[in-house]
């Protein structure tokens, strides 16, 4: 069929336990033309990543998992799913404080929406 189909929206996994922030970032992801997938915890996120092979971008709040260092989870994601692009944010850390996984990008809280949108769009060109 010759008619155009809407471009399939790319799924972006949002790992954020703070409801207001999660709502905001889901809204941002959707407005930017992506398909948000929400995870409220690290365990939740790992399970989703294991089930859904189509996720190519992860947005993760490093402040979230208080019991485990968020940056280690990010490193784990990078190791287990090398193609996945990672966007990190944190209030507790600054970029200089952490060892960033390869290709990951960091935006301190409070995030500037246009920077996150630009980052996601830039990353889709890599895919």
């Amino acid at each position: 069929m010759g008619q155009s189909q809407p471009i399939e929206r790319l799924p972006v996994l949002v790992i954020e336990d703070e409801p207001v922030l999660r709502g905001e970032i889901l809204d941002l992801v959707e407005h930017a033309g992506f398909s948000p997938v929400e995870a409220t915890s690290v365990a939740d996120a790992i399970r989703i990543l294991e089930e859904r092979m189509d996720i190519r971008i992860v947005y993760m709040d490093l402040d979230m998992p208080r019991s485990i260092k968020g940056i280690e989870i990010a490193a784990t994601i990078r190791d287990r799913w090398p193609p996945i692009e990672i966007i990190l944010t944190a209030a507790f850390f600054e970029e200089a404080d952490i060892t960033m996984p390869a290709r990951a990008e960091f935006y301190p809280k409070p995030i500037q929406r246009d920077q996150i949108v630009a980052a996601m769009r830039r990353m889709t060109t890599h895919l």
């Binding site: 905001e24 809204d27 507790f92 409070p110």
Partner: protein
């Protein structure tokens, strides 16, 4: 037959007043016989001429007159003493018994001359008619007695001299003198010499005068012991001084014995040792005070030798260092107790101390029992009389609690910064969710960016416990998201307070935002110079845009414009110039306001 007996028998008596031996009356014969037979020195003077007869023992009295004296009249024999003895002879012939004592005689009896003393006793001898016809002189030697007496006299004289010396000595001393009855119940006399009161007449109430009630038992005990053992009494004790105040005396008394060996009195001297005692008490008090200060300090106070080895540690210091026996660490090099940088810092401080300077540092160190602690350490020289460092004082204060509190505070500061930024994120999210549908995209972005600028400024403050931030950091942080390569930032290092940090962060954010929209940063070749200077009392900051379009004063003053005009400390002091090269902003503010917390 003795010499004198033979001489007497052979003598031609007929030529004497006595007449031939055969004609002598019985009384004369008997007297002469007794005399010649006696071992005592005797002589007889008989008849009208006082004819002289003597025995062997008497011969030495005569010296060279012997033996010619035999049969001579006494007056002829003793012309030299005749005047002395004639009256005695006369009295004897009148029937009296005359004696005289201790007549000195130089005699050669044992081959050498010696002084002798004699007692003479003249006894009348009556003849048959009852009249006194002669005189018998019986002598006895009193040399021994005389010599004994002489020795005694000499001894007495010597004693007097000695007593005089003693008296002079006693007089010269400032000590009080006293004499006591044998059992010490009575004080016979005391010369107080101004130190204590005098006792001129014997008194049994002397303790009332000289002793304080609470001291009596001790003094009495010592007295009893001395009296019982008859040994010198010696005691240092408190005494009531002449002016009634408390004094101290060193009192010593010796027993004086009578001829029968019994103690007749005690003689003593009491020295005023009040000053020494007070000095000693003051010293003891001072030493006790210093010791108690050292012991009660919770600082670890140590004295080191010049090589830094431990020679002393305070009691309280052993407690905090958990050392039970100083010998365990005595002589050990002190720096080796420290950890990390502390070892090098300690050796450096010792070197300073050896040169007479003090040093201070903070170091971790384990206690002797292995408990990890933090210490604030002061090392200072202990100078000798010559001004050179003799020993080294090291005082360590346990600041573990403080250090933990500091660490905790840093954690809390980090947590607080995190929460502020998180909260600002939530505020931003709520605002967007609430107003996003009814507000244009630009306004929402401006809001988000301002919130982000505010959050970034907080970041800078947490590094210094919310008290200050470096202006350079604030400036670079504020413009970082606008492309650092477009800015030339320069100025001296200066810390600014939290208020200035917030207002400057927001101001620079607005200036940069405007520059991107309308100013130098709206064209690729535009630049911004940001520089500041710091004077004694004020600081100036200049934002100068170059290479962009000519600046135009905005017709409407919005929130951003107001933030810029608030200046460095939120109260103005801003001058804006809209030049053809671009905007120039000059802001200045009093330094103390920029820096105040």
């Amino acid at each position: 037959m003795s010499g004198m007996e033979r001489l007497t028998r052979q003598h031609d008596w007929s030529s004497t007043a006595l007449g031939a031996y055969g004609t002598w009356p019985q009384s004369l014969r008997t007297t002469v016989e007794i005399m010649l037979a006696s071992g005592h020195a005797m002589c007889v003077m008989w008849g009208p001429d006082l004819t002289f007869l003597y025995n062997d023992a008497y011969a030495p009295f005569l010296g060279t007159r012997h033996p010619a004296a035999l049969g001579k009249p006494a007056k002829v024999v003793w012309p030299d003493v005749w005047n002395d003895i004639e009256p005695l002879i006369e009295r004897t012939f009148r029937g009296e018994n005359c004696t005289f004592h201790e007549l000195p005689m130089t005699m050669t009896r044992h081959g050498f001359e010696e002084e002798t003393w004699w007692d003479f006793s003249y006894s009348p001898v009556r003849e048959e008619s009852g009249d006194v016809a002669g005189l018998l002189n019986v002598t006895s030697e009193s040399t021994a007695r005389v010599l004994a007496l002489r020795q005694r006299d000499a001894a007495v004289k010597e004693l007097r001299t000695s007593e005089g010396r003693l008296a002079a000595l006693v007089e010269a001393s400032s000590d009080s003198l006293y004499s006591m009855s044998p059992d010490w119940r009575e004080m016979k006399q005391l010369d107080g010499r101004g130190f204590i009161a005098n006792t001129d007449a014997p008194s049994v109430r002397w303790m009332d005068t000289y002793l304080f009630p609470e001291d009596r038992a001790e003094v009495s005990h010592s007295i009893d012991a001395a009296v019982t053992a008859a040994v010198p009494f010696e005691l240092e004790h408190r005494v009531r001084r002449a002016d009634g105040t408390v004094g101290w005396t060193f009192s010593r008394a010796v027993p004086v014995q009578g001829t029968d060996g019994r103690i007749v009195e005690w003689f003593g001297m009491a020295a005023d040792v009040t000053a020494r005692h007070q000095a000693e008490a003051a010293l003891r008090e001072s030493e006790a005070f210093m010791a108690s200060v050292l012991a009660s300090s919770t600082d670890c106070i140590k004295v080191l030798d010049l090589d830094g080895n431990l020679t002393f540690m305070s009691e309280g210091g052993m407690d905090v260092m958990e050392i039970s026996d100083f010998n365990d660490v005595k002589g050990c090099p002190w720096p080796d107790f420290l950890k990390g940088d502390g070892v090098a810092l300690a050796y450096g401080a010792l070197e300073e101390a050896r040169h007479g300077r003090s040093a201070h540092f903070v170091t971790p160190a384990d206690t002797f029992a292995g408990t990890p602690r933090y210490w604030s350490v002061s090392v200072s020289p202990i100078l000798g009389a010559d001004g050179r460092t003799e020993r080294i004082l090291s005082v360590s204060r346990d600041i573990t609690e403080l250090e933990h509190a500091r660490e905790k505070q840093q954690l809390l500061n980090g947590e607080l910064a995190h929460r502020i930024k998180n909260t600002l994120s939530v505020v931003q999210a709520i605002a967007h969710q609430t107003l996003g549908q009814v507000t244009d995209e630009c306004a929402m972005k401006a809001f988000g960016d301002r919130i982000a600028a505010l959050a970034a400024s907080h970041n800078l403050l947490t590094g210094q416990d919310w008290s200050s931030a470096q202006l350079d950091d604030v400036a670079r942080s504020a413009v970082s998201t606008f492309g650092a390569d477009r800015f030339m930032v320069s100025g001296p290092s200066i810390g600014i307070g939290p208020r200035a940090t917030l207002s400057l962060s927001l101001m620079l954010h607005e200036l940069a935002t405007n520059a991107v929209k309308y100013g130098a940063l709206s064209v690729p070749e535009g630049k911004v110079t940001l520089r500041w200077t710091v004077g004694d009392e004020k600081m100036d900051l200049v934002w100068q845009e170059q290479g962009g379009p000519p600046a135009v004063e905005p017709t409407r003053r919005g929130f951003g414009s107001r933030i810029i005009r608030m200046g460095l400390i939120g109260s103005g002091g801003v001058n804006l110039t809209y030049g053809t090269e671009g905007l120039t902003m000059e802001a200045s503010a009093p330094l103390h306001q920029v820096q105040e917390a």
